[in-house]
């Protein structure tokens, strides 16, 4: 029953907002001070939720939360007192100011990860505080700024409950939009980015833009929450938004849990109320927070949410893991790959006939690493509709060539054409539009996303604006998201893992993860797939099943494939044609059986002596 609720989109998007509405009821039961604290708590919930998106989903450590709060609080207050802007409009503007702040921070910031990103955010934090302190004519300097009480619809709100109502309404609206973003395509894409950056890039997710968007959105939301609080503070000063504030707000998502928006909601709510409850030991509260955070990290990294859901036996991932990946490991694919439903994307072209241009032509591709000529003048041609293998011993340059063809590391020189179009420098989105996708040697599924969501990302509509639009479409069960799901279900069924559509990809067996990759690769109805060691690390039976699968995709969907593989037996069995690489060059090409019989190929593999050079 809980599980059903969890999957219900409306419930997922509205429930976090419902928690702040609960604060209204709680507010009836407490005195003015309690209502005051509830107002602050409601804002903390919003800040926690926004930080969950940034810290939990996008995995960006931020020490600039205080600065974003300052932008919101000072921005809205100055608009009200200097320009006479109505309070509610000023709160809205605070969001815009915060968003701009987030943008200014993120554009240089997302070039870094880890400690350097933390330091860049700390720089931003420090610079904002210095500005607040020094720009005294405007900000009032270190002494701070008097904030007038909030007004709404011409009324000045002085009563604590009235203010609480106002804050709850605004916060609920903010939380709903945040939930829509985080539960929708945007949150999933962030998960994809942090789950597997390489895989995410391969399907057109622009990592930097997504992280910038995460910063902008969370900063805007934090600024709105702070703007709501500013009148409660009566005086705002730089100290109220210092680095310590940033650090302690960072504990909201960590203690609450970083896996869902609920982490921030619970973390923000509990950690904001806790100091009020623990006032008798106020001395120790900071130390207590630190210990709480470190203990959370060490002993229950999932935070409060995981503890709760474990208690409620709601943990879907845990349940799936307990069921065991082995059980269905050898489930075979569907008998035949059914034709795609009407949902197939417009770019799809009928499988290439005899007259179609070659699926892939590389001309004199070269790539050098330092002293090593990794790929040396390679020209290959893959006929449309064929299965073409690429083999060679370690260090032969297969992977480098493969990366050059699939656009991951641009070649130094040469030309790469697919179906007659030059894709040498084409971005991923353009490749997907032409009908070219790939798989990865080390499975690059997005472990925290469900199989269905993994496959939907394969559709390639992952530009940042597209992603936002899809998030909203998804939240209202729009036609577009229904189509996407239908397409993804088809792809999963085609590969034979439709039974696991809702399981997180990380809980699948390796073989199933490989199948999932295939489903993700074919969902956009490509004409050409690059496969990077599709059977590396999988067992013998698995390899057999994958072999059949590839062949069926090839025949039923008319997809051309270029397969790089170490397992020669596999290549020989599955491929129509084979190229052998050694020392960066192609040394043999032709039908598999002929190729592996050639002495130069044996020389390459066994060190058996060649007759004569």
């Amino acid at each position: 029953m809980f599980d059903r609720l969890r999957r219900n989109r409306a419930f997922r998007n509205l429930a976090p907002a419902a928690t702040v509405v609960l604060a209204l009821l709680a507010g009836l039961a407490v005195d003015g001070y309690g209502q005051f604290v509830l107002s602050l708590t409601v804002s903390a919930i919003v800040i926690g939720a926004a930080l969950t998106m940034l810290v939990g989903y996008a995995r960006c450590i931020t020490l600039a939360t205080g600065a974003m709060m300052a932008l919101g609080a000072y921005g809205s207050t100055l608009l009200v007192i200097k320009l006479g802007v109505p309070y509610l409009l000023a709160v809205l503007c605070a969001g815009i100011i915060g968003g701009i702040g987030g943008f200014l921070l993120a554009v240089p910031g997302v070039r870094f990860r880890g400690h350097n990103l933390a330091m860049v955010t700390l720089v931003f934090q420090a610079v904002v505080v210095i500005l607040l302190r020094e720009w005294r004519d405007v900000t009032g300097g270190a002494e701070g700024l008097n904030v007038p009480p909030p007004t709404a619809f011409g009324m000045t709100l002085t009563d604590d409950y009235a203010v609480l109502v106002l804050n709850v309404v605004v916060c609920a609206l903010v939380l709903i939009s945040l939930a829509v973003l985080v539960n929708g395509a945007f949150g999933k894409n962030l998960r994809a980015v942090t789950g597997n950056e390489v895989g995410a890039r391969a399907f057109g997710i622009n990592v930097e833009r997504h992280l910038i968007a995460a910063f902008v959105a969370s900063s805007a939301i934090i600024a709105v929450a702070a703007a709501l609080n500013a009148p409660r503070y009566r005086i705002i000063d730089p100290d109220s938004y210092g680095v310590i504030v940033s650090i302690f707000t960072l504990s909201y998502p960590i203690v609450g849990g970083m896996q869902s928006i609920w982490g921030g909601v619970l973390g923000g709510g509990i950690l904001r109320i806790l100091p009020e409850l623990l006032r008798p030991v106020a001395d120790f509260i900071e130390l207590f927070f630190c210990i709480l955070v470190i203990a959370t990290i060490m002993f229950f990294p999932g935070g409060i949410v995981e503890l709760l859901s474990r208690a409620l036996r709601l943990n879907r991932e845990g349940a799936a893991a307990a069921a065991g990946p082995e059980e269905t490991r050898l489930a075979g694919p569907a008998e035949t790959v059914s034709p795609s439903p009407a949902a197939s994307s417009g770019s799809t072209v009928a499988p290439g006939g005899a007259s179609a241009p070659a699926a892939l032509i590389t001309q004199r591709v070269r790539k050098r690493y330092g002293a090593l000529q990794a790929v040396d003048d390679v020209s290959i041609e893959v006929a449309a509709g064929s299965l073409h293998g690429l083999m060679g011993p370690n260090g032969a340059g297969k992977t480098t060539l493969f990366n050059a063809i699939s656009g991951f590391t641009p070649a130094d020189s040469g030309r790469i054409e697919c179906f007659g179009e030059d894709i040498t420098a084409a971005p991923v989105e353009a490749r997907i539009a032409i009908g070219v996708t790939r798989s990865f040697q080390h499975v690059a599924v997005f472990p925290k996303l469900t199989c269905l969501d993994n496959v939907i990302i394969g559709l390639g509509a992952n530009g940042i604006w597209d992603t936002f639009a899809r998030s909203f479409d998804e939240s209202v069960n729009g036609r577009r998201s229904a189509k996407e799901r239908e397409a993804a279900r088809w792809a999963l069924a085609a590969i034979g893992i439709d039974g696991k559509a809702e399981a997180p990809a990380g809980t699948l067996s390796l073989g199933d993860q490989r199948r999932l990759e295939m489903a993700r690769a074919i969902v956009s109805r490509p004409r050409l797939i690059f496969l990077d060691e599709p059977v590396s690390g999988v067992g013998h039976q698995e390899a057999e099943l994958l072999k059949e699968l590839l062949q069926r995709i090839n025949t039923d969907l008319g997809v051309t494939m270029l397969i790089v593989e170490h397992n020669i037996k596999f290549l020989v069995d599955v491929c129509d044609t084979l190229s052998v690489m050694s020392s960066g060059r192609i040394v043999a090409e032709g039908k598999p059986g002929d190729v592996i019989a050639r002495p130069e190929v044996r020389e390459v593999y066994f060190g058996e002596k060649k007759a004569a050079p």
């Binding site: 880890g114 350097n116 330091m119 720089v123 630190c290």
Partner: protein
């Protein structure tokens, strides 16, 4: 001219302390791949220990220089063993967060133990300042300035030499270059990590002893030092001990010069400005360690 020289000396003194803190940060980072945001907390503990030894216990000052590195080294090692070792398999992100809160926890513990604005520690070397005549002007140099500049730099250089030539340093450098390779040379990960934290902690403790008279002992010391040490480390390339020394001195000079000739507000901004410029234009730092081809 005399003023300029005095400003330079003041900057070098601050820079020497930054350098010492930065070296410890780098040693730990190189050997264990952990960016220790709690390093400022260790420096603060060192300064506090100096207060205890010099003011509370009234022991001779030199004992502070001998005992504190050992003491803080042990504290750092214990942190490694109890908190960071269990997190070794966790991702970088989590470890960074853990050290951030560890640092705050150290300052908070101190604050709870000593609820006072700041503890003052007298200078190690007392005596009237030295006056040098330069034309009509007087250059005034205090003995403490000379002591801190030379003392901290000497310790820094000793640390650098240990890292470069001593067996313990070699084990850390091997671990830094290739963890698997180092293990195949018989270096135990646990032991080398503990040594690295000990050395890093000892350097932090000494930085605290040098900083105590001129900064006072307060929880704020932790944050100001970790920021400065981090900036110094980034300027130096975050990978090179020599770079950290030069980065620390440069930062000290930049701060003091901008305070003297621009404004005091600029002083707090300049370190961030430097950090930003270096990260964006030369992420490998101004003095990256010469790297061989990857093996």
């Amino acid at each position: 001219m005399a003023e300029f020289l005095m400003v330079i000396i003041g900057g070098l003194k601050i820079g020497a302390i930054y350098a010492l803190a930065a070296i410890g940060l780098i040693v730990i980072h190189k050997a264990t791949k952990t960016v220790n945001f709690a390093h400022g907390g260790l420096v603060m503990l060192g300064a506090f220990a100096a207060y205890l030894i010099v003011v509370e216990l009234n022991w001779p000052y030199w004992l502070a220089y001998v005992l504190i590195p050992i003491l803080i080294g042990i504290v750092a090692t214990l942190l490694e063993i109890t908190i960071l070792r269990p997190l070794r398999r966790a991702d970088l992100f989590i470890v960074i967060v853990a050290t951030i809160f560890l640092g705050i926890a150290l300052s908070e513990t101190f604050r709870l133990a000593q609820n006072t604005e700041m503890l003052a520690v007298p200078a190690a070397i007392k005596g009237p300042p030295m006056m040098l005549e330069l034309g009509e002007d007087l250059i005034i140099i205090t003995r403490e300035q000379i002591w801190v500049c030379l003392g901290a730099l000497t310790v820094g250089v000793i640390g650098l030499l240990i890292f470069r030539y001593a067996p313990a340093g070699r084990s850390m450098r091997a671990m830094a270059a290739n963890v698997r390779g180092a293990q195949l040379c018989g270096y135990s990960v646990n032991r080398v990590y503990a040594i690295a934290w000990f050395v890093g902690g000892a350097l932090a403790g000494l930085a605290g002893v040098f900083a105590a008279p001129s900064h006072g002992v307060s929880p704020e010391l932790a944050i100001s030092v970790i920021t400065a040490a981090f900036v110094a480390a980034v300027i130096g390339g975050f990978d090179s001990l020599l770079g950290a020394i030069i980065g620390g001195l440069l930062l000290g000079l930049a701060e003091t010069l901008s305070a003297a000739y621009v404004s005091s507000a600029m002083k707090s901004a300049v370190s961030f400005l430097l950090l930003f410029v270096v990260l964006l234009w030369r992420p490998e730092g101004l003095f990256p360690e010469a790297k061989g081809r990857d093996v």
